[in-house]
Amino acid sequence: MTQADIQTIRLTNGKTANVHTQLFINNEFVPGNGPLIETINPANEEVICKVHSADEQDVNLAVESAYKCYYETWRKVAPAERGRLLNRLADLMERDKDEIAILDAVDNGKAFAVARDVDVTESIGCYRYFAGWADKIHGKTIDTTFDKLCYTRHEALGVVGAVIPWNYPTMMAAWKFAPALATGNTIVMKSSEVTPLSTLKFGELVKEAGFPAGVVNIITGYGHTTGSYLSSHPKISKMAFTGSTFTGRKIMESSASSNLKKLQLELGGKSAQIVCADADLANAAFWACGGIFNNHGQSCNAGSRIFVHESVHDKFLELFIAETKKIVIGDPFNEDTFQGPQINKSQFDKILNYVKIGKEEGAVLAYGGKRWGNKGYYVEPTIFTHCNNSHRIMREEIFGPFVSIGTFKTIEEAIDLANDSDYGLAGGVYTSDLDTSIKVTNEMQAGTVWVNCYDIFDQSTPFGGYKQSGFGKELGKYALHEYTQVKVVKIQRLSKI
């Protein structure tokens, strides 16, 4: 007998919540044929519930639903109507904000208050932003020779596949759904098997908002099975992926060996924050701290390397440690918790192993470096100093509350050190000098560069990496390019005028 869709789960604050657990295909929750997957609460290491997963047959069903819907229904819906539906979805998320935040908190371990005020709030903003673009997708007319009419159409791609990670479940879903739907595509999304719950809740809201059946399909499953079937499916026109560089390569290989589907990859990073001698050090310490410790360090754009001018290193470190000490670690459902547990045992072990590696490499552990508490995958905010670019802890993405700090003498050196990485997702520079900020921002090989701040996002500015941090942009008008294809129409006039 197959598990019912709705399950009741227990939260760490004693309350319960009802969650969807089946696959969302064609506006209905249906059982999956893959194995039931346990999703774990990282705050107490207990099983929250089991969710259905999709096997190849289920993936096929989802893709076929999306495909049929695109050709028969969705592409005939007026753009303004698409925008209206997205705004309606945003209204419903506003209404159910707390419920969605609870799901992200229990499934991911992030603080409920952060989930509510950042993740869900910004996701709502993302849907509204792209709703506004829906009826503003313009082609051009291009004058060539006198006897022709030439113009471009920016058409939808068709069915888009998306694979999203576990670090910001609601928000990563929004960054894919919003531009894909606004531009007229239908979508099949595989959520992370580690954090499936809020995405399934989203399916319920999609139906309530009035989207036609098949526009949005949500399947849970493992990357190497469900994700793989999706990324090699011949009826998927494009894969949008956020996750590790390792998996990104697999998706790219899949595309190459299947139907050359278009790709967008948001991968890892080892972003550098540069603190100059003339920086406002208190300001820098504040932002740099958030830059690495926000979301427990589980951000692709985490500022996980800090290069400080040698003349202000000690002073900066003192201020930075003081900021770090303010971090409240605890149960995600305490209102003042800033840092919850890491996502799972595997990440937990990996981070603590890097502490070992850091010490072995000769870096200096200046703060933290241990498990916090004795239940849940909590790791203390960890600071290593005396690091240099040959250290593994300076080169490899750790994806935890772990920062590596080194020094520099000249700004040119700092820029070189920052650029000495296979990654190029983001960066930051702290300085009071205009020339320095322009020089660094011009020369840093990164998709986003922050000046005197870090980790600030807007719906209207694009985000995406250089080098092996990926390609393609999310957010902003630039995202529209990722979800449309350009057709040129050339009408030849016969000469019988």
């Binding site: 303004a80 925008g83 705004n87 903003g125 509204r128 932003y129 709703a131 506004g132 673009w133 829906a134 009826d135 503003k136 313009h138 009419l149 205009l434 020339d435 322009i438 020089k439 719906q459 209207s460 008008k477 009408i491 006039r493 016969l494 000469s495 019988k496 005028i497």
Partner: protein, 494 residues
């Protein structure tokens, strides 16, 4: 606020509480004068409304300025957009009441008011609300300097809107102006002031800060002139006659060189080739001239039919036009209501007389309809010469001329022989001809196999003396921003 409420019933018994005060700083206040607004279906008084003089205009401008320098200027684009969406929702909620007021004041058929006019203002507000956080400048590569542009709001924008589509014209101005961060002073037509005041009530309900939207009515020569000359208004948008458009431009020149956009008159040619779908062409041609009782700047008021189908076109056109239902605009099935005022009525009848005197044939219509209100029969003139006044001058009523042509060169020379250039149409099944003719027509909108089709997201505006600037679509944003170039020196030496 309630001191300016006038209670009245429409002819079909719908009860209205009409706001008649000037709307300044989120309050309804007295003006220095009052103006009577008439129901054009009966010729009887609806209400007396407060009218603005130069001092009232000044008060409104100051309120708008304070709002721009205060809460509105500091508000995020998203918050501005949220208010605009709210206003649009309230307009949809009150569609029936707004439609009743619009029909009572303007005389248009209530079905058009409900399904078109009132819907369009909400659509404009929503469309431009979506643009609020999407107004982008550029970064431009320059050696040794960081150069970028900012698209900044202008500040207090003045708008003078006409009586033919009171609510829709309000939407076409408020949408882009508010989305780009400006505040507004709108002078409505003294012939149709009522529906905008209802919208003003909704502006307050939506939660706009005081002074962001100000709506006043008054005589053009008094309030309109004051707005066009005000030294603290840095942009004026005008829709109306070409004659008044000149005055606005002159006022701007004589005062502070405020930016000017003008949507003026037209005498748009409708060109029907012999390979068209004739039945469709007849229907579109009818809509082209008789929609809104001919009171449309882009009306297809000159029809040119290719010789071989000319007589058949006329026959079908007469048949189709005879079915036009004139009557009480508050009846659901009324197509054509009265012209908006006695003055317009007299003017149009004057043109009809002139047409007859100049020797054209009044093929159908040509008389007043009924004995109450300003109704005029749908009127068709044939046997016209290109230099007749009914062919050259904008009549702005349900009067159309139908002429014969032989071929493309012949019809284009007639179609292009005008100072106007607002719109034009060509009916043909031949792609090449459609493209060629539409390329050669000098008009801001060219319709192929249709007429009077406007979309909120495609730009609208005139060539030549039909105006300056474009409304609707992304292009409208340009009217309400000013471009600042910022150049930060990196390594240039003096």
């Amino acid at each position: 606020m309630s001191q300016f409420i006038v209670e009245t019933d429409t002819p079909n018994g719908y009860k209205l509480k009409l706001q008649t005060g000037l709307f300044i700083n989120n309050e309804f206040v007295a003006g220095s004068d009052s103006i009577d607004t008439i129901n054009p279906a009966t010729g009887k008084l609806i209400a007396s409304v407060q009218a603005a003089d130069k001092n009232d205009v000044h008060t409104a401008v100051k309120a708008a300025e304070a709002a721009f320098n205060g809460p509105w200027g500091k508000m995020s684009a998203l918050d501005r957009a949220a208010l605009m969406f709210k206003l649009a929702d309230l307009i949809d909620r009150d569609n029936e009441e707004l439609s009743q007021i619009e029909t009572l004041d303007n005389g248009k058929g209530i079905t058009f008011a409900r399904l078109f006019d009132v819907k369009q203002i909400a659509i404009s507000l929503r469309y431009f609300a979506g643009y609020a956080d999407k107004v982008h400048g550029k970064v431009i590569d320059t050696e040794g300097a960081l150069s970028y542009t900012r698209h900044e709001p202008i500040g207090v924008c003045g708008a003078i809107i006409p009586w033919n589509f009171p609510l829709m014209m309000l939407g076409w101005k408020l949408g882009p102006a508010l989305a780009t961060g400006n505040t507004c002073v709108v002078k409505t037509s003294e012939l149709t002031p009522l529906s905008a005041y209802k919208v003003a009530q909704l502006v307050v309900e939506a939660g706009f800060p005081p002074g962001v939207v100000n709506i006043i009515t008054g005589y053009g020569a008094v309030a309109g002139d004051a707005l066009a000359r005000h030294m603290d208004v840095h942009k004026i948008a005008f829709t109306g006659s070409t004659a008044v458009g000149r005055l606005i431009m002159k006022a701007a020149a004589e005062s502070n060189l405020k930016k000017v956009t003008l949507e003026l008159g037209g005498k748009s040619p409708n060109i029907i080739f012999d390979d068209c779908d004739l039945d469709q062409a007849v229907r579109w041609a009818h809509k082209g001239i008789f929609f809104n009782h001919g009171q449309t700047c882009c009306a297809g008021s000159r029809i040119y039919v290719q010789a071989s189908i000319h007589d058949e076109f006329l026959k079908k056109f007469k048949e189709y036009t005879s079915q036009t239902k004139l009557g009480n605009p508050h009846d659901d099935d009324t197509f054509q209501g009265p012209q908006v005022s006695q003055t317009q009525f007299d003017r149009i009848m004057g043109f009809i007389d002139t047409g007859k005197k100049e020797g054209a044939t009044c093929f159908m219509g040509g008389e007043r309809w009924g004995n109450e209100g300003y109704f005029i029969e749908p009127t068709v003139f044939t046997n016209v010469k290109e230099d007749m006044s009914i062919v050259k001058d904008e009549i702005f009523g349900p009067v159309v001329t139908v002429s014969k042509f032989n071929g493309v060169e012949d019809v284009l020379s007639m179609a292009l022989d005008t100072e106007y250039g607002l719109a034009a149409a060509v009916f043909t099944k031949d792609t090449a001809r459609a493209l060629d003719v539409s390329n050669r027509l000098k008009a801001g909108t060219v319709w192929v196999n249709c007429f009077n089709e406007l979309d909120y997201n495609t730009p609208f505006g005139g060539f030549r003396q039909s105006g300056i600037g474009r409304e609707n679509g992304e292009y409208a944003l340009d009217n309400y921003i000013q471009v600042k170039t910022v150049k930060i020196n990196i390594n240039r030496k003096p």
